[in-house]
């Protein structure tokens, strides 16, 4: 399985770096280690040999991975390895970047995402996304939450009220804001804003929830609340989450994928990835002994 070109390795590097990561850095294709348990789950999203280029620079290399339904899947990896790129490819936000080219495909519950006949707007309505930095819209809290319904033309006040309350409760924000729904969302604290963005993402009951480092701008208390929230969302929603925090990944996720320089290195149940990974590189990364 390992690449045979370890001859190039710098002799001073530690033993566990000798193999795959070095090979990857040298531009050599390496296979991904995907644990058997992953394949046993019912997938909500299937990523199928997906490549992506920013201009002439390839950012994703042949990623293939199924995302299990109603589970939390965490994407970990060093900065710049393509986690956000992968996440943004799922709801085709990368279409907005002019220089992006892709090959391969993804399927959401069996429907091709990158097929030319796919209606991107319909597709995005089936997913919710939360960004690294909270990005509430410049409008009231209420309007923020029901935004997805508004753009669908929903006018019925009863429906909107109900969705607003359900989503805010779902995002563990209802009690804090229920008396000030008409206030500007920009007046909330950072943690509240991020939970508001989560409420906004789950308002339309998406099939997949994409979270890109949802806690990176938050203090420990707000982080704790968001983590609790992710725990509660499991079982209702399928969550694909990027994180830099290994404790967070081990606490909140069911499956963990380790990426490096645009490649999927190892993917399996979180307990296995953190306790007995197949690759020593993975172990080094998740225990913090890496680079």
């Amino acid at each position: 399985m390992t690449s045979s070109s370890s001859a190039k390795t710098d002799p001073t590097t530690t033993a566990f770096q000798e193999d795959r990561l070095v090979a990857v850095a040298a531009g050599i294709d390496v296979p991904s280690e995907v644990h058997e348990q992953v394949a046993e789950e019912q997938p909500v999203l299937e990523i199928d040999s997906f490549n992506l280029w920013y201009g002439s620079k390839q950012a994703l290399h042949g990623i293939s991975m199924p995302i299990p339904e109603r589970q939390v899947t965490a994407l970990v990896g060093p900065s710049g390895c393509g986690k956000s790129t992968l996440l943004r490819s799922v709801n085709r936000l990368n279409d907005l970047v002019q220089s992006v080219k892709i090959t391969g495909d993804m399927r959401l519950n069996g429907d091709s995402i990158y097929d030319r006949r796919t209606d991107v707007i319909e597709l995005r309505k089936r997913m919710g996304m939360v960004f690294q930095k909270p990005n509430p819209f410049p409008m009231s809290i209420y309007e923020n939450v029901v935004y997805a319904l508004r753009i669908d033309g929903e006018r019925n006040r009863g429906v909107l009220d109900e969705v607003c309350e359900r989503s805010l409760r779902g995002a563990a924000l209802w009690d804090e804001v229920k008396d000030r729904l008409a206030d500007s969302a920009l007046g909330l604290s950072g943690g509240q804003q991020q939970r508001l963005c989560i409420a906004r993402a789950i308002a339309a009951e998406p099939e997949v929830l994409l979270l890109d480092e949802p806690c990176s701008a938050l203090d420990p208390i707000a982080t704790g609340k968001v983590e609790d929230l992710i725990q509660e969302l499991r079982g209702t929603y399928s969550v694909l989450m990027v994180t830099h925090n290994m404790q967070q990944a081990s606490r909140t996720s069911d499956y963990t994928a380790f990426m490096y320089l645009g490649r999927l290195i190892e993917y399996g149940p979180t307990t296995e990835i953190f306790t007995k990974p197949i690759l020593r590189e993975t172990e080094a990364y998740v225990t913090g002994r890496f680079g």
Binding site: I121, R124, K125, F131, M139, S184
Partner: protein, 563 residues
Amino acid sequence: MNSDTAPRRRSSRRRVRSSYTNLAAHGEPWVWLTAGSLGTALAMIIGLLLFITARGLATFWPLPLERVQLADGRALLGEVTDREQQVDESSGETVSQRLIRTANYELTGQHYQWIDDADIIAFAKPDWATAVERLEGGRFHGTPQYFYKDGDVVATGPAATWQEFLEIHPAVRQRAAEAKSIDRHERGHVQRELRAARLAVAQAELDFGVESPEHASAMAAEADVQERAAEEMQRFDEQTATLRDENARYEIGFLTADGTDVRMPVGEVVRGWQPNMLTWPGKLAVYLDRWQEFLTDDPREANSAGGVFPAIWGTVAMTLIMAIFVAPFGVLAALYLREYASSGPITSAVRIAINNLAGVPSIVYGAFGLGFFCYVVGAGIDDLFFEASLVADNQPVFGTGGLLWASLTLALLTLPVVIVATEEALASVPNSMREGSYACGAGKWQTIRRIVLPRALPGIMTGLILAMARGAGEVAPLMLVGVKKLASELPIDGVFPFIHPEREFMHLAYLIYDVGFQSPNSQAAQPMVFTITFLLVAIIAVLNIAAIWIRGRLRRRFETQQF
């Protein structure tokens, strides 16, 4: 560093030196330079505004009337408006002079005179020295002496005469106003009817030909109207003649400083006051009365006296109409450039072209406005809808300058400002907001309408404010597309269809040019120029403050709380 210095000393010296950061690194000179530039700019702007405000506000304040007796036997009565020290070139002595507003133009041929202090042998401030504003002929300074009724003297002496004047004057002014109103409104109404009948004949001729029964009936109707109009005009003549005859019965006689007897009808007097006797509240009353006339009345005497109401109206209306046109156009154009057009050489070229448009001299826009709006669009409208007017009166309706064309021309002129500001405002909307919206399944237009535009609105408003400030102060293009020295009718009045965007109008900025530089007696009009300038600046300020207030309200909605 010197090589033969002992190492120990060297290191200690280095330590001492390094404890001071050099001046350039601290950046103090840059602070001084930048602060100095800002200070100079501010001082100039504030100085200019203070100057305009002081001169503009002082115009209507009643100054004391001084009677000066000159060595050559002449005597003058007037306001001292300026003093000056001059060095006589031959003798090297300083000569002080004063500028006296002597008024009485029909007697002296001058409004102002420079007098050497050395020539003055006596000063006085006579109690009954009176300043009079007249309907025609400018100011008059003198002492009231006689009051005439039906040609007979009914009062002599200043006190009795003025008493009589004050009793009669309001009624006389009232009658004059009535006569004016008859001339203006009722006669105007009849004239409009006549014109409508004439146009109906021309229209019938155009539509059905000269021989047609329609034409004949229109001719009959016109004859009918003409007959009625002649009767009514006769009636108006009689009414105004009665009013004017009644007014002509009263006259007031003044003695000027050098003893000339001047008799004038009471109806000619707008107002009079004795500044030397007035107390502070009295002066204030005169001051406010003159301001009220200035703000609410029509101009008199080639705009150099009276009010500027039509010009205020024209300025405000033109600026607002301009804003209404330029805002949507500019915003839509900027939206396309920033949100839809893919970036490339063409987009860049368009952007550069727009920036350059902002630098085109405004008179070029005026010429374009005249050539395109008036002569092409306006003439086209006339051909389609107002043919009868062209035939019957040989008078274009939309085919000449007017409020609408002037507003459109200025909208064009200020378009680049709005586009550039809007583009910047759109660019400053964080991409994360757009992405958030797309991720919720919003389309492009939905994202623009619900997220981008509201966020950019304060910035767009800033552009609009700049555009309005620029547009309201432009003169050159307006001279070509509809601003007039004197426009008798406002573009909005009680006559159907109430709004007449094709009418010519007056504008404060043009009035400054006209009164200050085109007027036959620019010296007499000079105080007025300052007041008009002050008013124009004040109006632009008010328009801007209103826009800034609206922007502030919008911005408060999007206030971000830091965390």
